[in-house]
């Protein structure tokens, strides 16, 4: 087992921080779930599947949002924190490979978030018990959360390696995260708008089609997550509908396999970011 991961888990388990965080967040989630459930069931004696699904959607988004909020701080502090505590030099002197340091740091940072996700599964299972969803949907949800967590986490790790202070690294990670989620949307929308401004000046108006530029949204974890959740509750055309505003993608291969392709894109990006991080962490790298 990766020695860094092992050590960090040991440290994590020992501090009460993690336990408190999990308890608090799960309590909020559970309270949320139970409250909605009661208010749903209370009115009528029959349980409405669609209401159940709404609850599922809500809880899934809450978990996703929590992840977006927590991961940048935790990962940004990992390597930079080691530098601040002045333990990084000693760590680099050992035979642990830079790649293993980076991976160890990533997964130890994610472990608390993942633990959080896993521990809140029973609450999501509430929805499952009342029907509406298949077991595979839960695994898909976990897989998506995991891959997006790794993606967001790698950004934090890279900044943590590059920047001296963990606070700066955290700020940079949040800005990048916002850039991914809002920025990519604004970029695509803005590009469409420019094309539209050109189109209205022409004598005959033709709705503009931004074509391949829409694939920029593949790096947007929120849009992909939106697609997944909609897909699970029966709306498999959600992303297509969303993108239709920017062109005609009805028979488009990538559009029809958006979820899996976005996951692969996120995964590849993570790999690239971590690879860069592992090179930057090595003090004797050739500049």
């Amino acid at each position: 087992m990766n020695p860094i991961l092992k050590n960090e888990i040991k440290l994590n388990v020992r501090t009460s921080k993690l336990a408190i965080m999990i308890t608090v967040i799960n309590t909020i989630l559970a309270g949320f779930g139970v409250f909605s459930l009661v208010s749903l069931v209370g009115k009528e004696s029959v349980i409405d599947y669609t209401q159940m699904l709404k609850l599922y959607i809500l809880l899934a988004y809450v978990e996703f949002a929590m992840m977006l909020l927590l991961i940048p701080t935790i990962t940004a502090g990992s390597v930079a924190g080691e530098r601040e505590r002045q333990t990084l030099d000693i760590l680099l002197m050992t035979k642990i490979k830079p790649w293993d340091i980076v991976i160890g740091k990533l997964f130890s940072s994610l472990s608390s978030t993942l633990l959080l996700a896993v521990s809140s599964l029973p609450i999501l299972a509430l929805v499952y018990v009342y029907g509406g969803l298949r077991l595979i949907d839960f695994f898909a949800l976990i897989l998506f959360l995991l891959i997006s967590a790794v993606f967001i986490g790698s950004i934090g790790i890279l900044f943590s390696v590059i920047m001296r202070k963990s606070t700066f690294a955290a700020v940079a990670s949040y800005i990048t995260e916002i850039g991914l989620i809002l920025g990519s949307y604004v970029a695509v929308h803005g590009y469409y708008h420019i094309r539209w401004l050109g189109a209205v000046k022409k004598p005959i108006y033709i709705d503009p089609d931004i074509g391949n530029a829409v694939y920029f949204l593949l790096i947007n974890p929120l849009i992909t997550f939106f697609g997944l959740i909609n897909n699970q509750v029966g709306n498999s055309k959600a992303i297509l509908n969303f993108c239709s505003a920017y062109g005609n993608f009805a028979d488009d291969y990538i559009m029809n396999h958006w979820l899996i392709i976005s996951l692969i894109v996120q995964f590849l990006f993570s790999f690239l970011l971590l690879w860069i991080a592992s090179h930057k962490i090595n003090p004797l790298r050739k500049c």
């Binding site: 020695p3 092992k6 050590n7 040991k10 440290l11 020992r14 501090t15 505590r85 002045q86 333990t87 990084l88 030099d89 000693i90 760590l91 680099l92 002197m93 050992t94 035979k95 642990i96 003090p283 004797l284 790298r285 500049c287």
Partner: protein
């Protein structure tokens, strides 16, 4: 063992190392001395492969540090001038973690950690938390940590700073024990006299350069030679001054009361002959001695009395 040639390092516009040269032979305990900001830590970090020099070469056992990074990690144990400590980790766990970082696992890991704790006399502390140890204990723990993979070269950056006399003594004992294990050790310090006790050779650094390097005994002897002769006269001071002025080997001469300070370049024998001459000229001498060898004065003269901070 260790060879540094023409090493340069700049931080921004500031030149921390200006063509540093340094050689340390196998089995030696080398004391690296210099005032604050001389570049001791910088050069040690470069030796340990934690910092990249702008120019120059560092090789250990003939292998260039830059291209043999992995061998270097095996061979070198580095103790920084601070103790990196994780909260919530116990002494034993701390060592076990670093041992596992060197690929040492299972029972061997535990055995080695216990052995190291025994060496630095921390066996009683295995279950205490690292951040609750005293400064001296932490420093000893760090020493144990940097030896965990049995390196042949130890680079210790001010290992004894901030220790009380007792701990210093203990520390020296540990270093002596390490010498018996055939380690080559490089120790930096501000305090020259402290190194004199166990170092076999020293190098004095200033503003990124080596100003004096050599065998401990030779350096001590050369200091002895350069020190002035102190002659206390009971009677016939004037005669004494006349006699001394005629001597070719007397370079300068100063008189304070009945004491004459003479810078004398001759050998021991010529010193004795000078005394004989004084006595034969009816000068009554109560004291005739070279000022005892003083590393600190040497250090101060070499480093221009600047920036020395105990």
């Amino acid at each position: 063992m260790l060879l540094i040639h023409d090493l340069y390092k700049k931080y921004g516009k500031f030149h921390a190392l200006n063509g540093l040269d340094l050689q340390v032979a196998e089995g030696e305990i080398f004391g690296l001395v210099g005032p604050n900001g001389a570049g001791k830590t910088t050069s040690m970090k470069i030796m340990a492969g934690l910092l990249k020099a702008d120019k120059g070469e560092v090789s250990i056992d003939g292998l260039n540090v830059l291209t043999n990074y992995n061998k270097l990690k095996e061979w070198v144990g580095y103790m920084p001038d601070f103790f990196g400590v994780y909260d919530n980790l116990k002494v034993m766990e701390y060592l076990e973690f670093y041992a596992s970082g060197y690929g040492i696992t299972g029972k061997r890991n535990r055995d080695i950690c216990l052995e190291m704790l025994d060496l630095v006399k921390l066996s009683g502390q295995t279950d205490n938390y690292v951040d609750q140890l005293s400064r001296g204990m932490k420093q000893k723990l760090c020493l144990a940590r940097c030896m965990i993979h049995n390196p042949k070269l130890l680079i210790l950056d001010e290992p004894a700073s901030g220790l009380d006399p007792n701990s210093r003594f203990e520390f020296k004992q540990i270093i002596k024990q390490l010498k018996e294990r055939d380690k080559t050790i490089i120790i930096s310090s501000h305090i020259l006299t402290e190194l004199a006790e166990f170092c076999t050779s020293i190098g004095i650094m200033e503003t990124g350069r080596m100003v004096l390097q050599g065998d401990m005994e030779e350096i001590l002897a050369s200091i002895e030679n350069s020190n002035p002769l102190m002659i206390k006269i009971y009677k016939n001071l004037d005669t004494a001054v006349q006699v001394l002025k005629q001597e070719l080997m007397v370079k300068t001469l100063s008189i304070q009361g009945n004491t004459i300070m003479v810078s004398f370049t001759g050998s021991r024998e010529e010193e004795a002959l000078l005394l004989k001459k004084l006595v034969m000229n009816d000068v009554l001498v109560t004291n005739f001695s070279k000022e005892s060898s003083n590393l600190e004065t040497l250090f101060l003269t070499i480093t221009n009395n600047e920036g020395v901070n105990w």
